[in-house]
């Protein structure tokens, strides 16, 4: 609410400042040069007239009103070397004038395109040829041509030395002719920029609407209007008459689209006055067009300005951005000038026939230019900010990823450690634990012949196996078998059993997937085979053969064979079941261990000895799940 109040207050200040500026009288030449008393002959009616004076609007363009007056020419004194040039200066008139001094025409304003635009307060100045001047009273006749839509007007005029009058004329020309031209050129440039902008960004029709407005404004400013000189007077008149409502309509459309309002259903109605004017201009006559302009053009312009002010105010209150504020202030200026001009035409306030609406429109052009530039710079900043933001986010994401990688790695490490620990526990339980329990049992029997030493040695051997299996052997089972050879030889030596080691180069294939638990299973199978040879077979020699079976495939399978020359196993079905129980359990263990490693287990036992043949898989199974 306070924002609305602030905004309204600001606009009120602008209105007051504008009004003061508008009411501020323009500088005028010294009153000694003033010529005010005229006799007016208008449509065969004669009356005396004091300038400024109005005459009624009329249909014909060749029906001037005659103002007759006179001025006193002071003959220069003898001491002056040169005669000073004298001029007639008309600050303001509508619509066209001819100046006749002593019966000779010295100026026809209708030949000046700029002067023919009633919306521009074009002044005129005419130097009176020296030969025309007479000492004393001179005749001055002004023919005032009026072609509507407003009534004819002739402001106070001045006759005097050119050097006195011309600075005032130049000042007015600068303000009412040159400045509008400059702004029109600026408008033209703006039109080109916006057309390019719209061509590149077709999805933003706001720029298209503004481009149309700017183009229309620029074109109408440069259209010639000299009454008898144009090739297409009707067309030009139509464009000029319809430009104000159409242009304001486009600007309004731009504001609606630009400030993010939804295009209203009745939106196209804002173009209705302009379109009607175009139709009238094309199909009616110039007089109709002029009347229609008064009825449609000026109110249409005013309505669009009011709507524009509302749209911009709404945007400013909602977004509080600089473009809305700039445009809002500019609209207020234009609207104030429009009200001033209307009141002036309706003669509600003193009428000097100086119209400021078109001139004040330049404020809007400046606001639009500044607003667009502001927007553009803001967009550039946002792009920069977005890029920086993106870089930050990217870094954040990278850090997160790194952290999650580290977390994942730590988790995997912990899981591997836990798995390894579980495996170690199981291995120790399977081997060492059982053996220690059996040592306890044996020592409790108190029997001197109890094989406590064997059990303890087996426990130590198993401990060495478990520790050895921890070592990274790089998938080369031969390295594990090398250690096992040392242990097996030490085990066999006291029993007088020879270990015949036959490793056929290149030994066994390397298995990168080989895990410690595979090694343990395989070595335990071999241990079992050697232990059987020691305990049950009464063998003299144990032969271990290591070779790679090369079959059809490129990489062969490793094969380990443990043979003894003992008495062999009796068939499992026959004999005393009780006696065979430990051996049968050992056999079952060997089979299940081989199955866990995916190795083929083969046992042949006969009178000539026992042979355990282990054919390694091409690829060791990955999971430890099957291992119970």
């Amino acid at each position: 609410m306070s924002r609305l109040l602030q905004y309204v207050l600001l606009q009120a200040v602008i209105v007051i400042v504008c009004t003061i500026a508008l009411r501020h009288p323009l500088a005028e030449p010294p009153s000694s040069a003033l010529v005010t008393a005229f006799s007016l002959k208008d449509r065969d009616v004669e009356r005396s007239a004091t300038l400024p004076d109005f005459v009624a609007s009329r249909r014909s363009m060749n029906d001037p009103a005659f103002y007759r007056g006179s001025f006193i020419y002071d003959a220069p004194s003898a001491r002056d070397d040169a005669r000073r040039a004298w001029s007639v200066y008309l600050p303001r008139f509508t619509n066209g004038v001819e100046i006749i001094v002593n019966g000779v025409e010295i100026l026809d304003s209708r030949r000046d395109p700029s002067a023919n635009r009633p919306d521009r307060a074009t002044p005129e100045i005419a130097v009176i040829p020296a030969s025309l001047l007479r000492d004393g009273p001179n005749d001055l006749v002004i023919r005032l041509y009026v072609w509507g839509p407003v009534s004819g007007f002739l402001d106070r005029l001045y006759v005097g030395p050119d050097e006195v009058l011309r600075p005032y004329y130049e000042k007015r020309t600068l303000l009412f002719v040159t400045l509008p031209m400059v702004f029109s050129a600026w408008q033209g440039i703006l039109a080109v920029i916006l057309i390019v902008l719209w061509a590149v960004r077709r999805h933003e029709p706001a720029y298209g609407a503004l481009a149309a407005a700017m183009a229309l404004g620029a074109i109408q400013a440069f259209l010639p209007t000299a009454v008898d000189q144009t090739a297409h007077p009707e067309f030009n008149a139509t464009v000029i008459a319809s430009s104000a409502p159409l242009e304001s309509g486009f600007v309004l459309a731009f504001a609606i689209l630009f400030f993010g309002r939804k295009w209203p259903r009745y939106g196209p109605l804002i173009f209705l006055p302009g379109v009607l004017l175009v139709l009238i201009g094309l199909f009616g006559n110039p007089e109709m067009l002029r009347q229609a302009f008064v009825v449609l053009g000026i109110p249409g312009l005013g309505l669009n300005l009011v709507l524009l002010a509302l749209v911009v105010a709404w945007s400013e209150l909602r977004r509080q951005d600089v473009p809305s504020l700039l445009l809002g202030c500019a609209v207020t200026i234009v609207l104030t000038c429009w009200v001033h001009d209307v009141l002036s035409v309706l003669q509600i306030i003193p009428d000097h026939r100086v119209f400021f609406t078109r001139l004040s429109y330049s404020a809007m052009l400046v606001a639009i230019g500044a607003g667009l530039t502001w927007r553009f710079a803001g967009a550039l900043n946002r792009v920069d900010g977005f890029a920086a933001h993106l870089a930050i986010r990217l870094r954040e994401a990278e850090d997160k990823l790194k952290a999650s990688f580290a977390r994942e790695e730590a988790r995997a490490r912990a899981a591997a450690l836990a798995r390894e620990r579980a495996r170690l526990m199981r291995d120790l339980h399977d081997g060492l634990g059982g053996q220690l329990v059996s040592i306890v049992a044996l020592s409790e029997r108190g029997d001197a012949s109890a094989p406590v030493g064997d059990a303890a040695r087996a426990a130590l051997k198993d401990l060495r196996l478990v520790i050895d299996s921890m070592d990274d052997i790089g998938g080369d089972l031969m390295l594990a078998l090398g250690s096992w050879r040392d242990r097996a030889a030490a085990q066999l030596r006291p029993h007088g059993i020879a270990l015949d080691w036959r490793a056929t180069p290149p030994g066994l294939p390397v298995h990168p997937e080989l895990r410690p638990w595979h090694v343990i299973q395989i070595v335990r199978i071999l241990d079992e085979a050697v232990t059987n040879a020691v305990k049950h077979a009464e063998a003299r020699r144990v032969t271990v053969s290591i070779e790679t079976l090369s079959d059809t495939s490129s990489s062969g399978c490793g094969c380990i064979t443990v043979e003894d020359d003992g008495k062999g196993f009796p068939p499992a079905s026959g004999g005393a079941a009780a006696l065979e129980r430990p051996a049968a359990r050992g056999l079952r263990n060997m089979r299940s261990r081989a199955a866990r490693c995916g190795a083929a287990f083969e046992l042949v036992s006969g009178a000539g000895g026992t042979s355990v043949r282990l054919t390694l898989p091409r690829r060791f199974p990955d999971g430890d799940a099957v291992a119970g």
Binding site: R457, L460, I467, I473, L479, G482, S483, R485, W501, A503
Partner: protein, 225 residues
């Protein structure tokens, strides 16, 4: 009553046995005494030093964990003061950690605590004859260290730069369980010379002085000045 050559030789061999666990000490002492060695037993580092001061043994057999110190110190001292004494470390498991750390200070062999008595005697005898024992896992550990790794594998530091390619080949063969005969055939030498190479390998792994240790550590990039 004619003593065999072996026994005569054994009787001349004095062994200083340092072991703090009495049953193990008795067992080893029995095994060596039965084989004819002249055994002096010590249970602590102080005892061992006192014994060394009295008489220089031919062979020093020592455990690493002693009540009043570490066997490594004893090995280092003995190696420096009595270069001709053969030194063996007594290890429970024959693991790389204990054996290698002993070898780097001057041991040239190791003995498993649970070895059979005959094996104990023959190992000592072989050592005196210049044949150092080596297990496949010790050989594996050493050859692993010869392979260039950015990150040194866990275990005691070991400088393998002095080993020749032939010696590394021998170690590979031992690590893979090949017999001395097979290794000798492979590297082109006689079977009998292989055990002698093992001792030579051990000697090359030895770090002789503190200064040398620093120098080698520098060379291997283990420490930075």
């Amino acid at each position: 009553m004619t003593a065999s050559g072996d026994e005569l030789a054994a009787r001349d061999i004095t062994v200083l046995l340092v072991e703090d666990d009495p049953p193990t000490l008795w067992r080893l002492q029995d095994a060596l005494a039965k084989a004819g060695f002249d055994v002096v037993a010590a249970a602590t580092l102080a005892d061992a030093r006192a014994s060394l001061a009295k008489r220089t043994p031919r062979v020093l057999l020592t455990d690493l964990q002693l009540p009043d110190g570490h066997g490594v110190d004893l090995i280092r001292e003995t190696r420096q003061r009595f270069p001709d004494t053969e030194i063996m470390v007594i290890s429970i498991l024959g693991d790389e950690e204990s054996v290698i750390s002993a070898i780097t200070v001057g041991a040239t062999g190791y003995l498993l605590k649970d070895a059979f008595p005959t094996d104990i005697a023959s190992t000592v005898r072989d050592l005196v004859a210049g044949h150092s024992p080596i297990s496949a896992s010790i050989a594996r550990f050493i050859v692993r260290r010869t392979q260039a790794n950015a990150e040194p594998p866990p275990g005691p530091p070991l400088n393998t730069t002095k080993l020749t390619p032939r010696e590394i080949d021998i170690l590979w063969g031992i690590a893979k369980g090949f017999s001395y005969a097979e290794i000798a055939g492979h590297v082109g030498m006689s079977r009998q010379t292989v055990p002698g190479h093992i001792k030579s390998i051990y000697r090359k792994l030895e770090v002789h002085t503190r200064g040398e240790a620093v120098f080698e550590a520098l060379q291997q990039g283990l420490i930075k000045l």
